[in-house]
């Protein structure tokens, strides 16, 4: 007995792609599960200033001229912090950034470029890390390029 369908002409449309799709799908799922993208994390880079005394003292190279130091004292204040730099006394990161920007402008007018100013954050022992990072970020946002931490006061 012959079926009528068997007499119809049948063309292959190309190679069988099913195994390829299987393998490709497995690779895709593997990459999606194993890959770590880490897109939500980044880093604030700090330099350690050259110290001639105390822990971590380093011998300065010949002809080395010390940078102008700008100390920012940070202390806890309630749930937040208080930052003191020269005559500035603020407890808010935005205010600190604005004030530091003005200070940087004064440094520029006095002939000191930002890269020759070493900002030193001097925190109290119990200052929270997140507040230090806020102060740090404010200094960077204001345009200072060299920011480091000092020992606690």
């Amino acid at each position: 007995m012959r079926f009528p369908a068997s007499r119809k002409i049948h063309y292959d449309s190309g190679p069988n792609l099913t195994p390829l799709v299987d393998v490709v799908m497995v690779i895709l799922i593997f990459l999606m599960l194993v890959g770590s993208f880490g897109a939500s994390e980044h880093f604030l880079t700090s330099n350690l200033p050259i110290k001639q005394a105390g822990t971590g003292q380093t011998h300065p190279p010949a002809g080395w001229v010390a940078d102008t130091a700008l100390e920012i004292r940070v202390d806890p204040r309630g749930a937040g912090f208080e930052a003191v730099a020269g005559r500035i006394r603020v407890n808010d990161a935005v205010q600190l950034e604005n004030q530091l920007r003005q200070m940087l402008e004064q440094f520029r007018k006095a002939g000191t470029p930002p890269e020759k100013v070493q900002v030193i954050i001097s925190p109290g022992k119990v200052v929270r890390y997140e507040h230090l990072i806020r102060v740090y970020e404010s200094a960077l946002s204001a345009g200072f390029t060299k920011v480091a931490f000092a020992t606690s006061h």
Binding site: K8, I9, H10, Y11, D12, S13, L17, T18, L20, V21, V24, M25, I27, L28, L31, M32, V34, G35, S36, F37, G38, A39, S40, E41, H42, F43, L44, T45, S46, N47, L48, K51, T55, G56, T58, D92, A93, V94, P123, G124, K125, V126, V127, R128, Y129, E130, L132, I133, R134, Y136, E137, L140, S141, F149, T151, S152
Partner: protein, 161 residues
Amino acid sequence: MRRQPMPNIREGGVNVTPLIDVVMCLIIFFMLVAKIGITTGAEPMDLPETILGQKIEDLGNTLTLNVHRGAGNQPLVTYLPKDERANREIPLARNVGGKVHHPLLEVLKAARRNNPRFKVIIRAQKDLGYELIEPILQTCAAADLNNINFATAQVTELRQE
């Protein structure tokens, strides 16, 4: 002249060509973007959030130090030793037979000696006090490291100051 009719072509099933195109694009994307096989020893923690920050491309030159609050309000540092798969605790100072050793300092000094581009990544919980981070920074200073990176989480929403 009589024209030959076109043969009756029967499709074998669903056309998978667009599917393969899309999947191949996705695979190439994931292969380029995903960091596979790079384990820095970073432990999940609540990092402080910042808007500024930069990516570190040469993670191979870095050592990630995870700082926690340890017993007696002392810093507890963990890191991923080379050629190991699990993080290990490393003390800042250890008394062995009346002699004080500084394991973290020794590790940092050795890494600095072997790699001039060596840098440290510090990861700490955002509510940690500076008193626990300070000894790590002092150890880095003693190891003559001048490139220290603080891991922060990228801010996704505008801050309410």
